[in-house]
């Protein structure tokens, strides 16, 4: 799998196929038993803690439900990394936070606590926090999960615009085929921990591969079976042949 600079890449696949695990490998939270992840020329699992933290400062990750710090206001959440990693004066941090919140359309929420935000708003605040230090690589773990159609379009649009504005590389792990095919440059399909298909959104839409077809069209049965493997049905019902 190769992610080129400036591109927006989606990784899709059924639940449990290893998408989030892949993101954790990219972020260096997990060490691979085989193979390696190279980011900006550095092999992640070979880095010591200082090296890993230095690389992570160049990355941002949006978690599935935002993972906002619940004991901090929206403003403090976005300012968090700036305060931790830089010596910027508070006036400058204030301006930067406001700009980031303005970019996601939530400047007016800076005094609110995360518990006062809707799911979609929390995701946008988390997005502002993710890009707080202008990362070169942004990872999104299920950014569309549980959003209403309007929030879904807003978040999708923001992901594309922020990626282009920052000149970053973005990797989105998602189940949402339709929304992601609208915004991404390239798609990888995973199943059982391996890549089963890849291509541009147009290639994916036109693909005649069974797995891709089932996934894109949301078919109940196919290469991904409806039934979890089990024993003989008649035997489970205690019926005699």
């Amino acid at each position: 799998m190769t992610f080129h600079r400036g591109k927006l890449i989606a990784i899709m696949g059924s639940s449990g196929c290893g998408k989030t695990t892949l993101l954790r490998h990219i972020g260096g939270a997990l060490k691979p038993t085989k193979g390696s992840v190279k980011v900006d020329g550095k092999i992640m699992h070979e880095l010591d803690q200082d090296g890993l933290y230095e690389m992570r400062r160049k990355m941002g990750m949006l978690f599935q439900f935002g993972a906002l710090f619940t004991d901090m206001s929206v403003y403090d959440n976005v300012a968090f990394q700036m305060r931790e990693h830089t010596d910027l004066p508070e006036e400058l941090i204030h301006d930067l936070v406001m700009m980031k919140l303005h970019a996601v359309g939530l400047r007016g929420t800076h005094n609110l606590m995360p518990s006062e935000l809707s799911g979609g708003m929390a995701r946008r605040v988390a997005l502002a926090r993710t890009v707080a230090l202008d990362p070169m690589l942004i990872m999104y773990d299920e950014p569309f999960a549980g959003l209403d159609p309007i929030s879904l379009t807003v978040v999708g649009d923001l992901i594309r615009r922020l990626n282009d504005a920052l000149g970053a590389t973005s990797v989105i792990v998602t189940h949402d085929v339709q929304e992601s095919l609208k915004i991404v440059d390239y798609v990888y399909f995973m199943a059982g921990g391996v890549i089963v298909a890849e291509g541009t959104p147009d290639e994916i839409r036109a693909s005649d591969k069974e797995f891709v077809h089932q996934f894109v069209h949301g078919e109940i049965d196919g290469p991904v079976p409806f039934h979890y493997p089990g024993g003989d049905y008649r035997q489970d019902l205690n019926l005699r042949a």
Partner: protein, 263 residues
């Protein structure tokens, strides 16, 4: 085979217990290693001091007051038999400063602040806040755990002192104001019999040890909790149970070392 199964279960539990002890020791060592950050940015500790210490004040003072009142009543009843009612102040003060202050305050601290710490850290883990911090290149042990640990360690002796002070006032209220023990002998005998080093400092040392143990258990249980509702709930329960038992066992050991065999 039941025997083989039993041996397997015992082996599994033993390995798990050893594993957890190792994890807890490593966690505690890392907390101490990364404590420098908390002291350099003392406001992180101050913020936690408020939630663990200041917010526990009411329960500590109210409990201390009632414990002191009960001590006053019971003490008077016992001392009266020997005609030593005037020693009520000494009995109340020594009982509180040496024993009940550190122990009961620590038990209350474990139930209020310890369980809250475990639940908070466990929920932070369940909602991926700790993972988020890690991926922001911020060490969660330095940023979240160490300040809370030191806040707990600092709070505990202060809360125990508050507990003892409130208890002495409770004992005074019942013994002197209600029953009519002589006020002069209540205070003067207390002042003469309570030794700063032997009684008060040993009590402070006890509460310091309890503070370390309770806070370390609470934080470890939260950090180690499975990221589910059930996992956090079990971890919170374990914090209260383990801390309470640890306090009572340690109290015996410390009391034996400090006062065992002394006159």
């Amino acid at each position: 085979m039941p025997v083989a199964k039993t041996i397997q279960v015992i082996g599994h539990r033993t390995i798990n217990a050893v594993w957890r002890i190792g994890m807890a020791t490593r966690f505690f060592a890392l907390t101490l290693v990364y404590s420098g950050n908390g002291f350099r940015r003392f406001r992180l500790i101050t913020k936690e001091l408020f939630s663990t210490g200041v917010m526990s004040l009411i329960i500590i003072i109210v409990a201390g007051l009632f414990v002191g009142m009960v001590l006053g009543l019971q003490g008077y009843e016992t001392l009266k038999r020997y005609g030593s009612e005037s020693a009520l102040g000494v009995m109340v003060a020594l009982g509180l400063v040496r024993e009940l202050g550190p122990v009961v305050a620590a038990l209350l601290f474990a139930s209020r602040a310890g369980s809250a710490m475990t639940a908070e850290i466990g929920l932070m883990k369940a909602t991926e806040q700790i993972d988020a911090m890690e991926l922001m290149a911020i060490n969660p042990i330095a940023r979240i755990i160490a300040p809370r640990f030191w806040a707990g360690v600092i709070s505990m002796p202060l809360l125990a002192a508050m507990f003892s002070a409130a208890g002495i006032f409770g004992g005074y209220f019942v013994g002197v104001v209600q029953i009519g023990v002589d006020e002069g002998s209540f205070w003067s005998q207390m002042q003469a019999a309570v030794d700063f080093k032997h009684d008060i400092l040993n009590g402070v040392l006890k509460s310091f040890v309890f503070g370390v143990v309770v806070t370390a258990i609470a934080l470890f249980e939260g950090y180690d909790a499975p990221p589910t509702a059930e996992g956090v709930s079990r971890a919170t329960t374990r914090t209260v149970v383990t801390s309470s038992l640890a306090i009572l066992m340690l109290d015996f050991v410390l009391t034996a070392m400090m006062f065992g065999g002394s006159e």
